[in-house]
Symmetry: C2
Subunit: 180 residues, 2 copies
């Protein structure tokens, strides 16, 4: 699977509604966003910025959680899901120096990241892209799609996650909102 | 950290003693191997093949295991460690579809991968490079360094790991032995 490229510029089906710095520097405002499922297709397009990440195997999800997620999570591209968010984040060196059991414990047993996300399914479709092992500035690019009437629920999801102990390890976060 | 490149060709400090297919196709025999810590340095060199991977955070190691490993594992580049092995492997789609707890269980509780490796420390120095998220043909490139009188211990380590249930998920493996 090639990496996905999120390209901010003058072209693309998504209108950029806002780009807000949550922690650390922001990205320049652009009018449109295009999502390229193959980075090679993005090469020719002039853009203000491009963020790259790759879907990968799950890193923390247990089998029981994975089964529940699979049963509830909708596919991307629902025709009535005309709102989207792209949230790039980078975690601190302290996070990456933790052992696997410590990261799992913080993510789920302490912060309930998976359990909180489950409460907003099937309203909010989600896809995670990994950038860290590609040498990108952002460790993760999470893409969300939802219907306009679920916008309140989405705000709640985001603010609950940002209040968790896991988020103490987030050192750079930008919040990009979109509509089509 | 840029990816490391292992370049097989006419140049480099390592003499290639053998290249053996363990499972699936082999790589072409070459006389020498060069290790580039920065892929950019490898670009100009004509080579028969090059394998790319990046060191990353641990994926399965618990804190207690990580502490024991850190206390025992030697650095690469010991002057008397004149033997090396490069073992590229790719695991099956079935492995990557497993949940995190299932992969951990197979790797350690069933196969004792970490515990077996610990028994050969500090004799065998080791560094793991991840290629899967870079889109490389091999998921992992493991590099080992040891002294000639530890060659028997190294053979034992490799054969014990290949006999584990975890190795049922290995679908491509090549074994490259080197000396300098």
């Amino acid at each position: 699977m090639p990496p996905t490229v999120f390209a901010g510029g003058e072209a693309g089906p998504w209108n950029v509604l806002s780009i807000a710095p949550v922690k650390g520097p922001t990205l320049p405002m652009v009018p449109r966003l295009e999502v390229f499922e193959d980075a090679a297709d993005a090469a020719a397009l002039p853009t203000a910025w491009r963020l790259r990440g790759r879907t990968s195997n799950s890193r923390y999800t247990r089998r029981d959680e994975q089964l529940t997620l699979s049963a509830r999570q909708p596919a991307l591209g629902r025709p009535d899901a005309t709102r989207a968010a792209l949230i790039p984040i980078t975690k601190s060196p302290a996070w990456w120096a933790l052992a696997q059991d410590e990261r799992r414990e913080l993510l789920e047993e302490t912060s309930h990241h998976i359990a909180i996300g489950l409460q907003y399914l099937p309203a909010v479709a989600r896809r995670l892209h990994h950038g860290r092992d590609l040498g990108e500035a952002f460790d993760f690019l999470t893409w969300f799609e939802y219907m306009p009437h679920d916008a309140g629920a989405f705000e709640e999801l985001v603010s609950r996650l940002r209040a968790t102990p896991e988020w103490d390890y987030v050192e750079h976060e930008v919040d990009i909102r979109l509509a089509r």
